[in-house]
Symmetry: C2
Subunit: 217 residues, 2 copies
């Protein structure tokens, strides 16, 4: 992910919008490097080359700024995944589509930046529950909701046999994401699988899922 993708998609145009974007980019760098408690609004202002007053004008507090950074970063990754999901249920080959989706999601989510953001949010989840909620909603929550819609549509069309699309979507999500995301949380970025291993993992996950939820025969 490049620095620019940290900013939210719909932002005010013009000078104020550019400043907001510069602050979000700067805050992402500072928070990821220094942690939540270690980061200061002074550091963010200096990095964004704006006054501290401007930072507070755009974001009322450090917590509000952190929530905005989390939403922007997970939103940017989520948007990419979401573009895939919206088309899924209309495709005719669930096995092929789910494999492409799984590989895409693994590739988009398993970046050192997003894994570090996730560690940071989890580490502060007790003190700042809004952060965990923002990451959940923009991340797994959104992916699972989209998958559930695709599964319902495929079942309507007779291509899958799923009674509870929400439960099935959660199963699929965690079959695909559970191992690599949790390994990255505990064992660090070196545990992020290389593309060939990610592909094998995606193939395996789809096979297990379809054995349980595919149409018989």
């Amino acid at each position: 992910m490049t620095k620019a993708t940290v900013a939210t998609k719909r932002e005010e145009p013009g000078r104020s919008g550019r400043k907001r974007r510069a602050i979000l980019d700067a805050a992402a760098e500072i928070f990821l490097r220094q942690g939540y408690l270690g980061a200061s609004m002074d550091d963010v202002a200096a990095q964004a080359e704006v006054s501290k007053q401007t930072v507070y004008k755009q974001f009322v507090s450090k917590e509000a700024l952190f929530v905005a950074v989390v939403s922007a970063m997970t939103g940017a990754a989520g948007d990419e995944v979401q573009r895939e999901i919206a088309r899924l249920g209309e495709q005719d080959d669930p096995a092929k589509e789910l494999l492409a989706y799984a590989e895409r999601q693994l590739t988009v989510v398993l970046t050192p930046r997003l894994m570090q953001l996730r560690r940071l949010v989890i580490g502060e989840a007790n003190r700042f529950p809004a952060l965990g909620r923002a990451l959940y909603d923009g991340g797994p929550g959104r992916a699972i909701a989209g998958l559930a819609m695709a599964f319902a549509r495929w079942t309507e069309r007779g291509l899958l046999a799923i009674e509870d699309p929400g439960a099935a979507a959660s199963h699929f999500n965690w079959l695909v994401m559970g191992e690599p995301v949790n390994n990255a949380m505990l064992l660090g970025d070196e545990s992020i699988p290389k593309p060939a291993a990610l592909r094998r993992h995606a193939v395996d996950s789809v096979r297990v899922f379809l054995a349980a939820y595919g149409r018989p025969g």
Copy 2:
């Protein structure tokens, strides 16, 4: 989990062993309450009612003490799970045994104390990789290794059809643990399912797993 179970199983007997255990229990409380950076060896010594010198005699540094606490807490939970696993492959009904195992593992792992320990370790995983490794080895790593042995034994005995027991064990582990553990990480302890919901989740997970890995027919 009671306070006492924090201590390691095999400890030196006598006065020194009792002190070590008191320090580990005190350190668990302090770290869980104050975080890693917020905790001091003075606080631990005061809580354990020993001198700071005694704390350093038993554990050379704050990091070493934290690693010992993580190992002891995950070890205590892991021991319970491990007693289940050792017997699994010799049982005759994989469906029944896997359901009992899944329920047991969910119940043992999804406690507010272990979830808070996990958040703390993940939050510090970059600065202190040894903590993440200790939690992984005592937690998912150990569970997956034990399950792989059971799956290999059941396949030898013709009760399951599993080519790669390690991959299958990871699938089973994350089908069962992925959703509730990750929800607890991001959404807090209120997201920990009640026993009836945990049971439904265990039933669902075992059904999906056996659809993929059970013997046909």
